[in-house]
């Protein structure tokens, strides 16, 4: 294999693959990147859960292939100042050459590199702008379970039914759902689908696709693939039953207030400094409904409170509820729009947070129960 490539092209490709490569004591080749030059240069890396392939433009002098440790090559390309990079293989060595630099990286034959699986059904697809896909995923991803005790909760649910594409995540304490209507994507799926995509895959989708690209999504019973002109990300799906979360969504709330999103966020951050180990803060609608009070106290630190002016207040009783402030911030931060509405019912019922004037997304969270 022999080729000349622009440093920026190669660097972009290696960055996209960076997290797919992995240290595996049983199969050391998984920390390698596969370089295969044919008409174009194709880079690939996998951890056997996800596989990423990147096609880079370059001048191919002689076709061929090799695998080398991704970290080693990536570090060279990142630190090199040269614009053009020459790559050439000698047996199982990759020589990286610029005007004033020369490195020989010990590699492993590409024969031993895992084959990155293809999707069985490639006739059905869904096309969506990367920016829209990423915004939707960002708005729900905060509600996923951090631990992978339950793999299906350490994931995001992507569901297509009756013309709408839904994204959902929950860890049992909070739940986020985003709905995209068919004006934000095009598809020839005739049946609906419902797939559980691992959190790690979602993070990669958020990280590697340029926001101005268009992503094509295809699925088969065990895999999902995200494709753009230059990148292909294939991932296994979680084979489990996703909890029926629709029954959790409160149909009505007792009290509802509208506040400024940025002001509420600022208040939460400020007050949370006094919250204890349990991260609990109290929210209280002041009598008359003029202000929302955020209050936190700790035995050792002291107490503080912050008043957020209420822009709109809807009936109900004067309520006082405790929440984990981290959960509130996780839900509110990714929302777009200046005003948000908060709906409360009681200690035993979830609160619901939505941006005002945008019905496509909501976040619900359970209070901390003082009982």
């Amino acid at each position: 294999m022999k080729l000349i490539i622009l440093r920026t092209n190669l660097k972009e490709g290696l960055s996209a693959l960076e997290r797919a490569a992995t240290d595996n004591s049983q199969l050391p080749i998984l920390k390698n990147v596969l370089l295969r030059a044919d008409k174009q240069l194709v880079l690939a890396a996998t951890n056997l859960e996800i596989g990423v392939t990147y096609t880079a433009a370059g001048k191919i002098v002689e076709p061929g292939s090799i695998t080398v440790p991704l970290a080693a090559l990536h570090s060279i390309i990142t630190n090199s100042a040269s614009e053009r990079i020459n790559l050439e293989t000698h047996e199982n060595t990759l020589e990286v050459q610029t005007d004033n630099y020369d490195a020989k990286i010990q590699g492993i034959s590409s024969e031993d590199f895992p084959i990155i699986p293809k999707i069985e059904d490639n006739t059905h697809q869904l096309e969506i702008e990367a920016a829209a896909l990423q915004e939707a995923l960002t708005q729900v991803v905060g509600a996923t379970q951090v631990s992978d005790l339950k793999p299906e909760l350490h994931s995001v649910l992507i569901k297509y039914e009756s013309g709408a594409l839904k994204f959902a995540a929950t860890d049992g304490f909070r739940l986020a759902e985003k709905t995209l209507l068919d004006n934000s994507f095009t598809t020839n799926f005739t049946n609906g689908f419902s797939v559980i995509v691992p959190l790690k895959t979602v993070s990669e989708v958020l990280r590697i696709f340029p926001t101005d690209s268009t992503v094509r999504v295809q699925i088969d019973p065990h895999q999902i693939v995200f494709t753009t002109d230059s990148i292909e990300l294939v991932s296994r799906l979680i084979d489990a039953e996703y909890p029926d979360y629709t029954q959790i969504i409160p149909k009505a709330v007792t009290s509802e207030v509208v506040v400024s999103r940025s002001e509420f966020l600022a208040g939460l951050k400020l007050v949370s400094g006094f919250s204890g180990k349990g991260s609990d803060i109290r929210l209280k609608i002041r009598e008359g409904g003029g202000e929302l009070e955020i209050y936190a106290a700790d035995q050792y630190v002291g107490e503080n409170n912050y008043l957020v002016p209420i822009k709109k207040y809807q009936a109900g009783e004067v309520l006082e509820l405790s929440f984990n402030w981290r959960y509130l911030i996780d839900g509110i931060r990714p929302l777009v729009g200046e005003q948000i509405s908060l709906g409360f019912s009681s200690e035993a019922k979830p609160a619901i947070i939505k941006p005002v004037g945008d019905d496509s997304v909501f976040y619900i969270v359970m209070p901390i129960n003082p009982n």
């Binding site: 049983q26 084979d239 959790i248 035993a348």
Partner: protein, 471 residues
């Protein structure tokens, strides 16, 4: 119990043209053959969790955990697999591969994150009962009774029938991990179920009770506190020993106790020791506790441990050789959590190895859990295993060379010699290139720190331990 489960599975497979038992043993035999023909890493990576799921006419159907394995085996090992199967069963002329069961291989890496705030409610549909604070998971049906806990169990069951009058208070004590929480929560769940919401049950841990008292005092809201704990029909309080000595909390508990008791409300208490062995317990509380029924949960006997292991396996839908079950039951006698840990660990090994585990390996896994040094392993075996795992020569590893590719493996060797065999630092240094004991000490501390955060390293060490155990 186990045989019953098996027959039903076999039955359901019969019509699809094969017998599960035969398929299982056929595949095990074929794997034995394949293992010889492919390298160890390839075997472990690609054939892990594979299964022969059907044999129809001349075609064998093999399930693999993911598409990567499917692609690879189809492309590289199809002939090997077919050859191995044909050698055992001449009628097979074709193999097909399917993907199934992609979640099987997920290792558990982290504990749930939110345990730091017990009061955080989850969606009630998901778990804890918000009104009673009980976890529906605990039921009397799943509580296994033996000699050591039959008194407690009998008293608890009697209460379900006769709330508030028969044994009041019911005081249950026993050591850590013997099932106190399970029993008292199960009673709560059972009462709630039986009386269909007419009886108000509340479960609370002592810690939570204490926090509530502090909160109420600070916010001058004692009446909220009273409402909460005195307007119930059954109050279950777990681990009472933690409120002893906290004056205000003890006082509040005393009043709560009296208020409930006088109104014939049921009180259920658990503790790690009987009232008479709680020196700081106020006399007025002690006499009240002793006025009801005191029942103990003792260390489980062998039979009880055996049936508990069996039932846990059934819950998990997993299997283990009888000899291994007997071994765990015989070896771990103090605590069910320990037993559960051992079961999980062994099942994890079984999953990754794809075959049942022997008593010998089970012994090592358990010994490791108990963090006692493994006596029958020689230091040389450890050094050999590390050398093999890192593909460096034994001589190099034991030499004084400071090449980078040797330093890492050598530090790991030092760590493992210390951790597994408890060798002295000077001895370790001496064995590995006549080094000073401080070098060994440094290496041990460095790796010990790293394994807690470096998952890859941890895995590597686990695989080396496996190597050692195979010797």
């Amino acid at each position: 119990m186990e045989t019953k489960g098996e027959t039903t599975t076999v039955g359901s497979f019969d019509h699809s043209g094969g017998n599960l038992h035969d398929l299982g043993s056929l595949w095990q035999a074929a794997l034995g053959e394949i293992e010889i023909q492919v390298s160890r890493p390839n075997f472990v990576t690609w054939f892990k969790n594979s299964e022969l799921i059907g044999k129809e006419d001349n075609e064998a159907k093999i399930s693999l955990p993911n598409n990567f394995a499917k692609e690879w085996i189809e492309n590289k090992y199809c002939k090997v697999v077919l050859g191995a199967l044909r050698a055992l069963d001449e009628t097979i002329t074709k193999v097909t591969f399917v993907v199934a069961n992609t979640k099987a291989a997920m290792p558990v890496r982290q504990k749930p994150s939110v345990a730091d705030n017990q009061a955080q409610s989850s969606f009630p549909e998901f778990k804890i009962d918000a009104e009673t604070n009980l976890n529906p998971r605990y039921t009397l049906d799943t509580y296994i009774v033996g000699k050591s806990n039959e008194l407690s169990h009998a008293a608890a069951t009697a209460i379900v029938e006769d709330v508030g009058t028969k044994y009041n208070p019911l005081f249950i004590y026993g050591g850590v991990g013997l099932g106190k929480t399970h029993l008292i929560q199960a009673v709560g769940n059972e009462i709630k179920k039986k009386h269909q919401g007419k009886v108000k049950v509340r479960y609370v841990s002592s810690e939570k009770f204490t926090n509530d008292v502090i909160w109420a005092i600070r916010n001058k809201r004692m009446e909220t506190m009273k409402e909460k704990y005195r307007l119930v029909d059954v109050l279950i309080i777990d681990d009472i020993q933690f409120i002893i000595g906290k004056a205000a909390t003890e006082e509040e508990f005393f009043h709560t106790f009296n208020a409930l008791y006088e109104n014939n409300k049921q009180i259920i208490i658990s503790s790690d020791k009987p009232p008479k062995f709680m020196p700081n317990l106020a006399e007025r509380l002690r006499s009240r506790f002793e006025g009801g029924m005191i029942a103990d949960i003792d260390y489980p006997d062998y039979e009880l441990r055996y049936s508990i292991i069996k039932s846990k396996l059934q819950d998990k839908g997993a299997q283990m050789e009888d000899a291994v079950v007997e071994f765990i039951a015989a070896k771990l006698s103090k605590n069910f959590r320990e037993i559960e840990g051992a079961i999980n660990r062994i099942l994890f090994f079984q999953k990754t190895k794809g075959m049942p585990i022997s008593v010998k390996l089970a012994e090592q896994i358990i010994t490791e859990l108990a963090s006692e040094p493994i006596k029958n392993i020689s230091p040389n075996a450890v050094i050999r295993a590390v050398a093999e795992a890192f593909e460096v020569s034994l001589a190099d590893l034991e030499s004084s060379s400071r090449k980078r590719e040797l330093v890492g493996p050598r530090q790991i060797t030092m760590y493992m010699l210390r951790e597994m065999l408890d060798l002295s630092y000077p001895n370790i240094g001496e064995r590995l290139g006549k080094r000073d004991h401080t070098t060994a000490l440094y290496a041990y501390e460095k790796i010990a720190k790293e394994v807690t955060r470096n998952q890859a390293l941890n895995q590597k060490i686990m695989s080396i331990k496996e190597l050692i155990s195979r010797e």
